[in-house]
């Protein structure tokens, strides 16, 4: 069975600052990122929709020890954002000093851009990730 939305198309949309998701025709739940079965009821009967990319920060960390090949990126902030329509998504946060990031970030509203991880010898190519910034 063909999956309704593949990583390739999700990734291309993310590079245009758009989040594609899957809306279940059976239960109405929205699944992000793409997979074969609805996250709520496991039905494969889903349609591709564009999901609103704004949301709020649910948790965060500032990374000081990076993986091989990414040492020059530290320190950087990773955030998990709850999108307005419910799904959680992982990305980075810009516009905040990583060394002063604190619990006050949790609950803050964010808007989304993107930044492409160019890939390394293990990653089978590039992958975009959301790059969030605080909404003033």
């Amino acid at each position: 069975m063909e999956q309704k939305l593949y990583f390739k198309d999700y990734n291309e949309a993310l590079k245009q600052n758009k989040i594609l998701g899957l809306k279940c025709r059976a239960c109405g739940a929205i699944t992000v990122p793409p997979k074969m079965a609805c996250r709520q009821c496991t039905s494969p009967d889903m349609e591709v929709i564009e999901v609103k990319s704004n949301g709020k920060i649910r948790t965060f960390t500032t990374v000081f020890v990076g993986a091989e090949g990414r040492e020059s990126e530290v320190p950087y902030i990773i955030v998990i954002v709850e999108l307005e329509e419910g799904p959680w998504i992982m990305g980075n946060l810009e516009g905040v000093d990583p060394k002063t990031a604190s619990m006050e970030l949790i609950g803050k509203k964010v808007k989304m851009g993107n930044k492409v991880f160019p890939g390394d010898k293990y990653s089978a190519g590039e992958g975009a990730r959301p790059l969030f910034s605080l909404v003033n």
Binding site: V63, V116, D120, G127
Partner: protein
Amino acid sequence: MKKVAVVGVGETKFSGPQTKTEVELFAEAATEAIAESNLKPKDIKALYIGNALGDFEEGQGMLQAYAAENIGCMYVPANRYEGACASASMAVRDAFIWVASGYYDIVVAGGVERAATMGTGLATRTFAMFSDARYEYPAGVTFPAVFAMLTHLYADTYKIPLQKLREQMAKVTIQSYKHGSINPKAQFFGKNADMTVEKVLGSFVVCTPLTLHDCCPFSDGAAAVVLASEDVAKKLTKKPVYITGIGQASCGPLINQKDYLPRIRAREISSQQAYKMAGLKPKDIDLCELHDCFSIASLIAAESLGFFDYGKAGDAWEKGEADIGGKVAINPSGGLKSKGHPIGATGAGQVYEIAKQLREEVEAGRQVPDAKIGMTDTLGGDGGTLVNMIFERGW
């Protein structure tokens, strides 16, 4: 279904980078377990080995076949299990099922890893392979980052001031170091016994709010156990340790676990399977070797296993309820944080500790008095694989 017992256990010292190969390390642990079982390699019907990253550590794939041949288990079926940090527990659980089914009567299960040999950069990169490669790694997620984010989420969910939570987490570290410092097999044997809250909080920050002392080390090491059916076990040992409950569950990327986090739902399902099968409840468990890859991971695990209420495990550690003499003795081995975490071997190392504890064969300072029922808890990835097992004295 047959009853299945652990009849012998073996373990190398868990350590930083060292020179023995993975096959040599596994052979050391496996031959110790086979000898302790009063068996010979020719008696072993199959070999199940956990190994997560051997391909990266030594450029060695399919090491299970080489390990079998190395120890003289000639031409037996040898299977490798990869479930990140839960790999060896998957191997032991499957070995249990095969022996319980009656297909095999004697099986060796265990695991091996040389994570420390990789060094911090490659180890951090390869451990991150257990997060979602497409939807999480581009953001630069690392293993400490996962548990750092769970720490902030835990503080927010249960409305615990971050500073208070960090101090409670430091108490977890101090307890782990205390037990590990007198465990000769532990990576931190003879070390860190004088750790203080101030030293934990003041050490190098890996990922906010986790410091070096909130994190387990990268480790090399191996562990192995021999499982036998009840009829065989009774002939081999006077102290068979029966596996009376097992559970395993899987889950998707961290972000897809949003309905439950910071609870790990796969752990709740896995442990409930094990409790139901054993006919036991959390209050019946005398000791538990649980997956404390980070100090916060201990709190999250102890709650999902049913030992303490959600959001209250930190209080329990502060009161000594998670220590020897408390409600349940957590990680008298020192756990992953002090005994060490050679990821593909860790689960078998937990079984090693439970068997030794139930037989009352560990150092006096960390022996759980009158321990009759033990439990293991092993987590792979960020909740992607969970395995729980319950063990009881057979004498």
